[in-house]
């Protein structure tokens, strides 16, 4: 019996409070759904929103008293709190743009919101996980809920295709991650990130080749979750097939959480063997940017364009990881925050523009949107400009900080190639803006109704965040720099 064991204190329960609230609210929604029986109903999303705001308050409160919890399984620090807030914001925005979409598709049921809350439980755990076991469980919770969400409209063939591809490839990638975790445990005798770090720095018994192999296996798992090359192939098909609000959610939340845990594991545990994995991240970052941007050039489907753009953006974040410095971590955090807002805003508008059965998802279907719905077109343009990285948007400062961090770490080639990539990227984003503003309205835009209230709120909030981050980036950057000191 472990003698030095103590049962969790009150402070530790508070550090787990956001997840607890999400679990309780998710279960409440599920039980309510059971009472409601069959048929469509409205209002479940309000319960979900309430739970999400409550969890956000709890995350703030938990962050005010940082420290480890539950035998070091969680570590609530600035970094973790930052990402907790980020994924919860994603949850709120995704829930806001879902009800109108779901009732249009006659699938307005509570399971959807329960699954989103459960998925966020996993992502919050990922943000604060300090143990490889917790990393694995968090990743499984987050992804399995997302697999189901991707196939939520059962009658839709694209949904089914998306869910099955995501599920099969995702499980395969998680298996690699788990195999890597097993190797690490066998080599170092621990799954705690701090202990692994210490072991790798002090002990000479672990063969660097084997540790590198284990870190590589884990990289496969993480690279899949953040859709980094060469494990990005699933992204366009899955993003295209899933319902638009779900795509909004899964292109932002799980991705940010996976990046959080990826950065934490590699900077904390594998810092001692950085010279083995940094070249891999370097190559992967470059390949991800190139594949994402060049493949997006020829796409005609907006969801696929944004899927490839999402791959490319994962590449930019990987550049920040490859910088391997505290500035780099802060840059990655800032970039992910601005990426989340612009991406979820864009997909929120797509869930409005696509109409029932997602009939209108071609770039040309947006022709003349500015004449029919100037506000929608303007908001969409803001998100696209931010994705390009035009000044006065969050995307600009995100890229700026990332390439600055890369230059500080003497990654000149990666910086030059990354900047060239952003120039290429401008083409396919601008093409959409040109179609919206300079083409004559087609029949697709003529039948367009006013956006639902939830989508309006979500896209306005996201656009506001993008602009604020572009005008006053120091607001968030200061927070990010303060919280980026992990593992040091």
């Amino acid at each position: 019996m472990p003698a030095n064991f103590a049962f969790p204190t009150e402070a530790e329960y508070i550090r787990f409070l956001p997840e607890t609230i999400l679990i309780l609210m998710g279960t409440l929604i599920m039980v309510l759904e059971g009472f409601a029986g069959d048929g469509h109903r409205k209002g479940t999303h309000k319960v979900a929103l309430f739970g999400l705001f409550l969890a956000m308050a709890a995350a703030c409160y938990a962050g005010s008293n940082p420290g480890p919890a539950f035998s070091d399984f969680l570590l609530v620090d600035g970094f973790g709190t930052f990402f907790r807030m980020l994924v919860l914001t994603v949850g709120i925005l995704a829930v806001l743009c879902s009800p109108s979409y779901l009732s249009r598709e006659r699938a307005d049921s509570g399971e959807y919101y329960a699954l989103i809350l459960y998925s966020l439980v996993g992502q919050c755990i990922l943000a604060t996980a300090n143990e490889l076991i917790m990393v694995f469980i968090g990743l499984e919770i987050s992804s399995i809920a997302t697999y189901v969400l991707a196939g939520y409209l059962r009658d839709d063939k694209r949904n089914n295709e998306s869910a099955i591809k995501y599920f099969l490839l995702g499980s395969f990638a998680t298996a690699f991650l788990l195999y890597g975790v097993a190797w690490i445990y066998g080599l170092t005798g621990s799954t705690n990130l701090a202990v692994i770090r210490q072991y790798l720095q002090t002990s000479a018994t672990a063969d660097p080749a084997l540790v590198g192999l284990a870190a590589g296996l884990m990289f496969v798992g993480f690279a899949f979750k953040v859709s980094a090359a060469p494990f990005q192939a699933w992204t366009p098909d899955v993003y295209q097939g899933a319902p638009a609000p779900v795509t909004a959610f899964m292109s932002a939340g799980p991705k940010a959480a996976a990046f959080a845990v990826f950065i934490r594991v590699y900077i904390t545990a594998f810092d001692g063997i950085a010279e083995t994995w940094l070249p891999v991240v370097w190559v992967s970052a470059l390949a991800t940017m190139v594949i994402g941007n060049f493949a997006a050039l020829t796409q005609t489907n907006i969801k696929r364009v944004l899927a490839y753009s999402s791959i490319a953006h994962a590449g930019y974040v990987l550049v920040a990881v490859a910088a391997h410095s505290q500035i780099g971590t802060a840059a990655a955090m800032f970039y992910l925050a601005s990426y989340v807002f612009m991406n979820i805003g864009a997909f929120a508008l797509i869930s409005h523009l696509s109409r029932q059965g997602e009939r209108y998802v071609q770039v040309n279907d947006l022709a003349g949107l500015s004449q029919r719905q100037p506000v929608t077109a303007a908001l969409f343009a803001i998100f696209l400009l931010s994705l390009i990285g035009v000044p006065l948007t969050g995307g600009f400062f995100g890229k700026f900080y990332i390439f600055k961090a890369a230059l500080d770490s003497q990654l000149y080639w990666l910086t030059v190639l990354g900047l060239l990539n952003s120039a290429v990227a401008a083409y396919y984003y601008l093409r959409i803006i040109v179609v919206m503003y300079f083409h004559e309205p087609g029949h697709a835009t003529e039948s367009l109704e006013e956006p639902a209230a939830g989508i309006r709120v979500a896209s306005l909030v996201a656009a506001l965040a993008v602009v604020v981050l572009g005008v006053a980036p120091s607001l968030l950057l200061n927070v990010a720099s303060r919280s980026s000191a992990i593992g040091r």
């Binding site: 019996m1 049962f7 679990i23 599920m30 039980v31 759904e33 059971g34 009472f35 029986g37 069959d38």
Partner: protein, 130 residues
Amino acid sequence: MPTTPLEVYFPVLVQALLGVGLALGLVGASSLLGKKLKNKIKDSPYECGMAPQGSAEERFSVKFYLVAMLFILFDIEAVFLYPWVVVYKDLGMIAFVEMAIFVILILSGFFYIWKKGVLDWSQISRIQRK
């Protein structure tokens, strides 16, 4: 007093070998000793029976899948109960609360599927529910 796993589980091994041996022995003995007659009348369905039509491989209802899925989930819950039982005395109330949280969460899932009619196989009550 047996100490190594091998000694402790030796009876299980003997049991398993006995089981396999018995099964193989019975099947083998009957195929060795039994009479084998094969002709058209012997292979046809018994006298007044219906002549079989189509394939015996029919597509199962998805309900079976759901039941099997639920079986796994509650099986996993049951597996967690074994280690819980043996340390219950040492931990007392805390162990009770821990397991209570776990079981209540899963039971709320059970409540959900019950109310959703997943366990309801009769067509009539499904229609009445609507």
